[in-house]
């Protein structure tokens, strides 16, 4: 866990309201694992107050570069999008427990939605480097899905896409159906990141098909390091209900353990 002012190398819009931010943070680049995140201060003053968490999208261990893919949804991300090359970025990371990519032998399925794509790219790269066969299902807005498809294909990942409004039932059903088909072909393990709705739906499918499924879940965060106990989600652990910290025990959990409250 490191805290420092890093230099922004670039910050560009890549699709719709999706931006790609690159900054120099060798300590983070060296140690980050797929599924971990950084906690970023988007402004200087006292409002908005809190840092914002973003998955680590990609790292270049040699050059110390770290990339974050983010969607502008509110005041913090809007301020982040205003930052320019050369400015300083106050970053804390790498944080959290990432994906268990080592558990995969031969094949993996990724399912991502909108900015959820951000936490899967690093994982895909990691898996591909180890020769794992990776396929992916991407859903969301047209441009976002297309750019995701392009990036993933460059890594040799087989991609299927669903363009649509992620809140619509039709879209959700199509995503779940594709997921079921892909799992049906048999994969070692699946990984997901997206809306609660999508994750709950797909968790159900994975459980039925008895395929291990890891998901990166969201919760509002304050400290990001496990000190404030604000970011809990309900988890079923050895049959017992408990709360776990998304920032420290997660953000990646076994989908089976998460108690979905949609």
């Amino acid at each position: 866990m490191f805290l420092f002012e890093s230099e922004i190398l670039s910050n560009v819009r890549v699709a719709d309201d999706l931006y790609l931010l690159t900054f120099r943070a060798p300590e983070i680049a060296l140690r980050a694992q797929p599924g971990q995140f950084v906690h970023v201060r988007c402004n200087k003053g006292e409002h908005p107050f809190l840092r914002r968490p973003f998955s680590i999208y990609l790292v270049e261990r040699e050059t110390g570069m770290v990339k974050v893919l983010y969607k502008t949804v509110g005041i913090g991300t809007a301020l982040l999008a205003e930052k320019r090359k050369g400015e300083q970025l106050d970053v804390l990371g790498p944080l959290g427990k990432g994906f268990n990519s080592k558990a995969v032998q031969k094949s993996a399925l990724l399912i991502g939605e909108g900015a959820g794509l951000a936490s899967l790219m690093f994982l895909a790269e990691d898996l591909r480097k180890r020769g794992v066969e990776v396929s992916a299902i991407l859903g969301g807005q047209r441009e976002t899905v297309h750019i995701g498809k392009r990036y993933f294909k460059a890594l040799g990942v087989k991609v299927e896409t669903v363009e649509g409004d992620t809140k619509k039932e039709e879209y959700q059903r199509e995503m779940a159906e594709l997921f079921r088909e892909a799992l049906g072909k048999g994969v070692d393990r699946a990984f997901g990141c997206g809306s609660n709705h999508l994750l709950a739906l797909t968790a159900h499918v994975a459980r039925m098909l008895k395929i291990p499924y890891e998901v990166s879940i969201y919760q509002n965060m304050a400290c990001g390091v496990g000190a404030c106990l604000c970011c809990v989600r309900k988890i079923r652990e050895e049959g017992k209900l408990t709360y776990k910290l998304v920032c420290k025990d997660g953000p990646v959990f076994n989908a089976e353990e998460v108690v979905w409250e949609v």
Partner: protein, 304 residues
Amino acid sequence: MPVLSVKIGRMTLKNPVMPASGTFGYGEEYSKLIDLNKLGAIVTKCVRLKPTLGNPPPRLAETPCGLIASVGLQSIGVEAFIKEKMPFLRRFNTRIIANIGGETVEEYVEIAERLNGVKGLDGLEVNVSCPNIKRGGIAFGVDPETVYKVVSQVRKAAKNLTLIVKLTPNVTNIVEIAEACEQAGAEALTLINSPLGMAVDIEKRKPKLSTVLGGLCGPAIKPIGLRCVWQVAQRVRIPIIGVGGIFTATDALEYIIAGATAVQVGTANFVKPRVMLEIIEGIEKYLEEHEINNINKLIGSLQV
């Protein structure tokens, strides 16, 4: 170099800056980011008698210049605290203060008894903002008589520890409550716990917190915290630890000038994990620039 050391009850602190309960865990997480030896004290997350799960999510919502939170006194329980957390904490060259809470007077007393004499522990901070289940969930800290009862009994139960009481600002007359604490044997007061607040998600038409209400923290409440410290400082002789919206050395100095002997930093830690060190340095610089050789000369120096 100006003297930064202050006294809170029987404890001498090397400087007046410490974390606020619940915002710093048991120091472990932040020990990777700052040197705990440099702090005046460490105040722990609320310790309860038994392990408790706390409130369901969501527990947090951001608000203008602050946040509302309702963790609900999630705790690992006093036994786990002593066994799992104290060994780590007592390694540091600083004062250790356990924040405690309960739902009945008896619970407070039992925790205090159990903590009295624990090696390395220096003080108790009694959080009286907890809901009193015998009185329908109304906080202990809103009624002078109830507060007196809790504090005087904890006083008897934990003779070896400096006794601090942390008050809620959700009262008509905080001075009256503070005076009851002083009479009951409190050696210091921490002011303030968080004002009750709320936030609404207009899309879902639901409260943003599972518990509807939560504690408002952050810079937004600084004026309220300062007001409480000043009001109480006029009327009690025991030292006051100021807390609420401290983000910079300037904020801390406002509290000290208004009458606080020490300060606690809460949610600012989330935003700037090294902020307490900045504040200590900032206080020192201010004293030097103003040629004040001892911080105790600044405490309560407000000219009204």
